[in-house]
């Protein structure tokens, strides 16, 4: 005897939950709720149905709906494996093809979706007509806006765009009547208040207007004539045909630096032309029928954001990320002072890094990964990496970040952040030539090489700097003078050990700086102890 009806999907079919198998709730209990009378094959109360779905499941359902019904993107370039993948090679250049053994994803769909819930900034690049704007519009619909609102809110970059076009105008009457600047009333553009913002062809915006856009993107406010509009936290989608920041106007570096993740619009796979033909013939517009069950409220996005932040990064994995990031800033030739031995020092001095670093150092190129880049990583880049790796782990339903999460996400985040040194000999090798254009593959290879070196150094088990750091983290309270001296000696011994290596590799640089930091802290503490006594 059927009592409660099964909860089936309504018209716009959402992928059956769980989209990533989890432990299911057991039906239990002997309590029958009379409200179940109104539960059944049609969705009578969409709010309740939405509330019953865990938010990470809803995010996955949104992803699969887009992939299955909205955007034809039959790619799985974010590969996960549960066991060894099937590997093939094709052609005389031995192009590698892998059939992943676990649920894998299309970056073109996944990354904008993660950007939506992280409220970050995503640049969609690719040739014209590849679905960049369509993808951004879908994200706007998922954020709860109507199609009309989104389309009217898109800012289209064009060479005549002024700051007023972008931000708004003072009301003429208030300009005339105002006795002071405070009294001027600005008619702000509606898009400023949206939680999903779309800037189409941002590289066609004039430089002066780009500066105004930068203020909104970076600091979340707009300003005209001393009047300020505070914008809400929002996800940004910018599109461009050229990822290098060229276009009608060169994109100012500060604006490019604010981009958190770069996603390539991939080519159209001609094997799916039939499906495209169907859409053309039937005038099928998926953005018009996005199911209500996968539209997120502002509160839901806030909740997802908080949940993502609480996803843990295991210490061992964090250490690998640290080790990877340590390769890139160091430039031994840049200065005498230890703290200034960075690529940034060279850049600020207005010099060319390749000239400064051109002398042969004798370093092993497979270890000296920093040689492949012209810059290091900023704090902002670190924070973005951490946010996206947590987000993808959350998306996959995990409570902590996995190694593969990091390996898959970092290339997209650092795509614009790590500038390639095309003169590096690494790229001269035939098997590495493709990395000149394939930045995603290049950064992933960098991470793999870094992890290889990390394993070779056995840093998981033998990391003296980590031991000394942990010792310091336990605090200085009650530390005696003799113990302090012992610790200072240990630090000096460690540095001596590190200096036994013939080459000063980049990954040692931050270790050495940390040792100096620890030494200085203990030295100051010792002086205080002595002063006290």
């Amino acid at each position: 005897m059927a009592g409660t009806g099964s909860k089936l999907n309504s018209l716009q079919k959402i992928s059956e939950a769980p989209t990533n198998p989890q432990a299911e709730k057991k039906l239990g209990g002997r309590v029958f709720d009379v409200a179940d009378l109104y539960e059944g094959p049609v969705q009578s109360d969409q709010q309740k149905a939405a509330a019953d779905t865990p938010l990470d499941e809803k995010l996955r359902q949104a992803y699969f709906w887009i992939v299955n019904h909205a955007i034809i993107s039959p790619y799985y370039d974010i590969e996960y494996n549960d066991g060894p993948p099937q590997l093939f090679s094709l052609g005389d250049k031995k192009s590698r093809i892998a059939f992943p053994s676990d649920q894998s994803y299309s970056s073109f769909i996944l990354l904008p979706l993660l950007t939506l819930v992280l409220r970050r900034r995503c640049l969609l690049v690719g040739g014209p007509g590849r679905g960049k704007t369509a993808s951004a519009i879908l994200m706007g619909v998922l954020a709860g806006y109507s199609l009309k609102e989104i389309k009217r809110g898109i800012q289209h970059g064009q060479p005549q765009m002024t700051i007023s076009d972008l931000l708004g105008n003072p009301l003429p009457s208030s300009l005339v009547n105002a006795a002071s600047m405070d009294e001027i009333v600005i008619s702000w553009r509606k898009w400023l208040g949206m939680r999903a913002k779309i800037i189409d062809e941002y590289n066609r915006i004039p430089t002066r207007t780009q500066s105004a856009l930068l203020t909104v993107m970076a600091d979340n406010y707009a300003e005209i004539l001393d009047q300020v509009y505070e914008c809400p936290e929002a996800a940004w989608y910018l599109t461009a045909n050229d990822e290098a920041g060229g276009g009608t106007y060169q994109v100012i570096e500060a604006l490019r630096d604010r981009i958190d993740v770069v996603v390539h619009a991939l080519h159209f796979n001609t094997r799916f032309l039939g499906e495209l033909l169907n859409r053309v013939e039937q005038e099928f517009r998926p953005e018009e029928i996005v199911p209500a069950q996968i539209i997120f409220t502002e509160q839901e996005i806030d909740a997802i954001h908080n949940d993502i932040l609480s996803v843990e990064i295991p210490d061992g994995l964090r250490r690998r990320i640290e080790f990877f990031a340590s390769h890139f800033e160091f430039c031994e030739q840049a200065a005498h002072q230890l703290e200034y031995k960075t690529k940034d020092t060279v850049k600020v001095a207005g010099l060319d890094f390749t000239t400064v670093s051109s002398q042969e150092t004798g370093k092993d190129k497979t270890i000296d990964l920093g040689n492949q880049t012209l810059n290091g990583l900023s704090v902002r880049a670190f924070m973005t990496c951490l946010a996206y790796v947590k987000a993808v782990a959350y998306f996959r339903g995990a409570s902590e970040v996995s190694f593969e999460d990091v390996r898959q996400m970092i290339p997209f985040v650092l795509h614009d952040k790590l500038v390639q040194n095309s003169d590096a000999s690494f790229f001269d090798l035939p098997e590495h030539e493709a990395f000149r254009s394939d930045k995603i593959g290049w950064i992933r290879r960098l991470f793999d090489l870094s992890c290889k070196e990390y394993d070779r150094l056995d840093l998981d088990r033998d990391d003296p700097v980590a031991r000394l750091s942990a010792e310091f983290e336990r605090g200085l309270d009650g530390l005696s003078e003799s113990e302090t001296r012992k610790r200072l000696t240990r630090i000096e011994k460690t540095l001596n050990q590190l200096s036994r290596g013939r080459k000063f590799y980049a990954h040692l640089y931050d270790d050495v700086l940390k040792l100096k930091y620890l030494h200085q802290r203990y030295t100051n503490y010792l002086k205080w102890l002595q002063w006290q006594s």
């Binding site: 005897m1 059927a2 009592g3 409660t4 009806g5 089936l8 309504s10 018209l11 716009q12 079919k13 057991k26 039906l27 239990g28 209990g29 002997r30 029958f32 709720d33 009379v34 409200a35 179940d36 009378l37 109104y38 539960e39 059944g40 094959p41 049609v42 969705q43 009578s44 109360d45 969409q46 019904h69 039937q282 005038e283 099928f284 517009r285 998926p286 018009e288 029928i289």
Partner: protein, 343 residues
């Protein structure tokens, strides 16, 4: 030839043409058997009459109603629940009876109202005794007295119990206390002069007291008899794989066929078996309190006694103060025995 002015229905379709067409295309991806001709016919038969009752409404309201009914039509026809060979003709019956007569409720929140009605009818139509039509007709009568959807849905819960969903008894009795007396009187089928609150109080204490019997102050003849037979063999459309056993837990009766367990609910209005979580089998097969059953099928309670031959050689018994459940080796059913008043 006179030109017919477009109706609100055709105007609404025209306004929303692209969106509705896209929905149809999308639905056909989900349900390849969805036929455009059949669907158009259903639109005309089902949706048009409802929308035409809203001529006085704004375009916004009409569009909202149209979209919801269009979505539900696509979904239910696509799944084969409605349409020329629909599995649940009761849904069409409820649609035609309620959506027009209760359009004042439908327009308040189309999705909530229409969805709730359709789901309720779906759940009721799964009962053996096909009580869904009874519920629909009752709700059609009540809809005029309900000015909010919330009141309608509350009345619907009580009406569902009244139409045989006995497992909702307790909740329905609580809700019934909050209903308008006029609505309660209609649900209990009381004459105009009756006091529905007093009748409700009486039937609260005796699950086997009919509202009509509660009205008469004369003492009535009562007899122990089989009031309900619940469940049947799964091969015949029932739920029991084997002849079940019953037991009492926390003053509720459960039946089990060693594969699944069911809550046994029964009263004067109906009886149901509700699948529940697995229960640990009781060692005592014949748990009973107020009733006694002997091997010949004689049932006794207080000073009442009846010989019920089909209950001879019972395999298990369980009872509350008012209801006895008995199982026998030759049957996949649960026999419900109660002291039933004869008018």
């Amino acid at each position: 030839m006179a030109v017919l002015s477009p109706s609100v229905f055709t105007e609404a379709l025209t306004r929303n043409r692209e969106r509705l067409n896209t929905k149809f295309i999308y639905a056909r991806q989900m349900f390849p058997q969805l036929d455009s001709g059949v669907f158009s016919g259903c639109l005309t038969q089902m949706v048009q009459p409802v929308v035409l009752t809203m001529e006085d409404e704004s375009e916004e309201v009409i569009d909202r109603v149209l979209e919801v009914l269009y979505d539900f039509s696509l979904d239910l026809i696509g799944k084969g629940y409605l349409g020329p060979k629909g599995k649940y003709p009761e849904l069409l019956f409820a649609w035609e009876k309620l959506f027009c007569s209760a359009s004042h409720l439908l327009r308040q929140d189309p999705r909530l109202f229409a969805g709730s009605v359709l789901n309720a009818v779906y759940n009721l139509s799964s009962l053996q005794e096909q009580r869904s039509k009874q519920w629909t007709e009752l709700m059609q009568m009540l809809s005029g007295d309900c000015d909010t959807i919330s009141l309608f849905l509350d009345a619907g819960k009580v009406a569902a119990w009244r139409c045989g969903l006995a497992h909702y008894r307790q909740a329905a009795l609580e809700i019934a206390e909050t209903l308008k007396p006029s609505i309660l009187a209609r649900i209990l089928e009381l004459p105009p002069e009756a006091d529905p609150v007093a009748v409700l109080d009486a039937i609260k204490n005796d699950p086997w007291l009919t509202p009509a019997a509660a009205l008469t102050k004369d003492s009535q003849q009562s007899q122990l008899k089989v009031a309900r037979v619940l469940g049947t063999f799964r091969g015949f459309g029932g739920v029991m794989l084997r002849p079940p056993h019953v037991q009492l837990l926390d003053n509720e009766i459960f039946a089990s066929d060693n594969e699944n367990s069911y809550l046994v609910s029964a009263d004067v209005f109906g009886g149901t078996l509700q699948r529940t979580a697995d229960l640990s089998p009781s060692k005592q097969k014949k748990s009973q309190r107020a009733f006694i059953v002997d091997k010949h099928g004689t049932v006794a309670k207080d000073h009442y006694s009846s010989k019920i031959p089909e209950l001879a050689d019972s395999t298990s018994c369980a009872s509350t103060e008012s209801t006895l459940a008995v199982t026998i080796p030759r049957s996949h059913s649960v026999y419900i025995v109660a002291l039933v008043q004869e008018l």
